[in-house]
């Protein structure tokens, strides 16, 4: 596709003074629903920025931005007896995801594969089309991040409309797409000198050095195939509570269950899909109680193998982006990087 003139001529490197962040967000709000990280208790959450200010120095969010593309509860259609009407709660205006980290952008690219393919998911696809990604490189990292092992951070190389990097008193803003160019033109950002790229590189390299966790991916496929009966799984059978929290906060988990909900007339209602979890007991259960993953070790093992082995043949990529949310959230402190270290005999 040929670049529109507006984009070809636009500056690719721009700067945004932190003092002008509110103005920038206000300009975005004129053309889109803007979602960004806001404080929720001691954590952060992606919320619609109505009267709230985004806190772009956040570490991570409770739920990944997936919730804005593949909703936790989503009506698929409504019905009245045998008449079916498709429901699509697609936002009328574009939605801007402001300040999402490189790992989460990579995760969205994986979900694009999951919801694409032979049977495209119209609910995801329509919402995705309406979505503008203003990503934020990670100049700070937190204890459970291991993106550098998976090549998904702390720096983002593609997959953004706009990419921000915190340079202290200002953000560097890089333009990735014509849609991004339109937005910065709207907001009137100033050009940044090329030398700011040096500052960016330095800050990202420092962030990379501060990452403590590793998940070594070399020969991971073979390692896991060879260790399907490793004692670590037996230990996890007793350790894991099978609560499913790790799957709820995972930016690449996509499983769902469907439920029919009836109105009080008992004739009309709707079908909705609800996030499901392979950690839950009834996930692989069929009629008459036959359960193909009855034991907890089988379920957590399936999750680990799915992320690190099965995504590759299914979608051409690893299923983990190193965001660390599953480690943050596990009340038993189960850590996927520790599992792999144990399998490697470290």
């Amino acid at each position: 596709m040929a670049m529109p003139r507006a984009f070809a001529e636009a500056q690719r490197l721009l700067r945004l003074d932190k003092s002008r962040l509110d103005d920038f967000v206000e300009a975005l709000k004129k053309v889109a629903d803007v979602y960004g990280p806001v404080r929720k208790g001691v954590q952060h959450s992606f919320q619609l920025l109505e009267d709230k200010r985004p806190e772009l120095d956040y570490h991570t969010t409770i739920l990944p931005p997936k919730k804005l593309l593949h909703e936790p509860f989503e009506k698929l259609f409504s019905f009245e007896e045998d008449r079916v009407e498709v429901v699509q709660s697609v936002p009328k205006r574009p939605q801007v995801l402001l300040g999402i980290h490189p790992c989460d952008v990579h995760a969205i690219e994986i979900l694009d594969q999951v919801y694409g393919g032979e049977y495209e998911d119209p609910y995801y696809q329509k919402r995705r089309e309406q979505t503008v990604i203003i990503a934020l490189n990670c100049t700070t990292v937190h204890d459970n991040c291991f993106c550098s092992s998976l090549g998904t951070g702390p720096e983002l190389k593609s997959g953004y409309d706009l990419l921000m990097t915190d340079l202290g008193d200002q953000f560097l803003v890089e333009v990735g797409t014509p849609r991004g160019a339109e937005l910065v033109a709207e907001a009137g950002l100033e050009p940044a000198p090329r030398v700011t790229l040096v500052d960016k590189e330095r800050r990202l390299s420092e962030a990379r050095n501060r990452l403590r966790k590793r998940l070594l991916t070399q020969d991971l496929d073979q390692l896991l195939k060879d260790n399907f009966r490793h004692p670590v799984w037996e230990e996890l059978r007793h350790e894991c509570l099978a609560c499913g929290s790790c799957t709820m906060v995972c930016p690449t988990c996509f499983c769902y269950n469907t439920v029919d909900v009836l109105n009080l007339d008992l004739k009309s209602g709707w079908r909705e899909r609800v996030w499901d979890s392979c950690l839950l007991l009834d996930y692989a259960q069929v009629a008459q109680g036959m359960n193909f993953r009855k034991d907890r070790d089988a379920r957590i093992k399936h999750r680990v193998y799915h992320k690190l082995v099965y995504y590759e043949p299914q979608f051409g990529t690893l299923g983990c982006v190193g965001c660390g949310r599953c480690i943050d959230t596990c009340i038993k402190g189960i850590d996927i990087t520790e599992i792999i270290r144990e399998l490697r005999g470290e």
Binding site: F228, T258, D260, L262, G269, A287
Partner: protein
């Protein structure tokens, strides 16, 4: 962008209902509006009873020219129990056909051995009908066909009305067995598990493709017994049951290792299942 919605059920009208056993019923259906519908033996549809939910159910008839298709349903789950209340002329929701069916082109020129247990005969009936239909037309595409079928009791045998036709077809051998015969019931066939019929069968490993469906524990012993008799894993095909909420590789429920049973299956060569880390049988 206009996208086809793969989750929207199409109305289908029940043309006929036939009671198979005390807990199993065959429904003949036809789409009310949808004109184009084709399927292969071994594929399944997602069946909706609005308000109850949706379940994957095998198609139990061979493709027909009048656009009808059959589903043989054991009333054991949420949706299937509710189906027991359906009457002729009622409408339900259907979408499909989904999945990879039996390897029909690979059966050509080969003998066919069908081994089924209980409701597992339902997805195999289209193959039996197709092979007999082919023979009747004189095409001679397939070799001989042997059918080994096991049920709990004589009353639990599916498709009893078909047996006479199957037996009378040229080159077809039907062997029946039941786990138990209640007192006072007539039964002139075998009593015991389905693998007990192996000594009576004529199928030879080198010339035969095996298609099997039934409870996993049955298939486990079927596979073990056939491998011992020299059948090769790439000539054994199994149809698997898994939980499914979409049928189109989205909901994730049906995965075994990297395979989506709804799309890569439900029919798999045993040789393929052997390559998966996650044990199947």
């Amino acid at each position: 962008m206009t996208l086809i919605n793969p989750y929207k059920p199409e109305p289908a009208v029940i043309q006929a209902i036939r009671s198979e056993t005390p807990d199993t019923t065959t429904y003949t259906m036809k789409f009310r509006d949808l004109q184009e519908f084709s399927f292969e033996p071994g594929q399944f549809n997602m069946i909706t009873l609005f308000g109850y939910g949706e379940a994957p159910i095998s198609i139990s008839s061979a493709p027909s020219e009048d656009g009808t298709f059959e589903h043989t349903v054991r009333h054991v789950g949420n949706v299937t129990n509710a189906m027991a209340g359906l009457r002729e002329g009622d409408t339900l929701g259907v979408r499909g056909a989904y999945g990879t069916g039996w390897p029909m082109s690979q059966l050509e020129g080969q003998d066919v051995l069908i081994i089924a247990g209980g409701i597992g005969l339902a997805p195999l009936r289209p193959v039996i009908q197709a092979v007999i239909g082919d023979r009747r037309k004189g095409n001679g595409r397939y070799g001989s066909m042997e059918i080994l079928y096991g049920a709990r009791t004589p009353a639990d045998c599916l498709f009893k009305d078909d047996y006479e036709e199957w037996r009378s077809a040229e080159g077809v051998n039907l062997l029946l067995t039941v786990d138990a015969v209640p007192q006072g019931m007539d039964w002139e066939h075998n009593v015991g598990v389905v693998t007990a019929l192996f000594d009576q069968m004529k199928s030879r490993p080198a010339d035969t493709i095996v298609l099997t469906c039934g409870p996993e524990v049955m298939m486990k012993f079927v596979v073990r017994g056939l491998l011992e008799r020299g059948f090769s894993p790439d000539r054994l095909y199994l149809s698997l049951e898994r939980r499914m909420s979409c049928g189109v590789k989205k909901c994730g429920n049906c995965q075994i290792g990297s395979k989506f049973v709804c799309k890569d299956g439900p029919v798999f060569a045993y040789a393929e299942l052997m390559t998966l880390s996650e044990e199947v049988l």
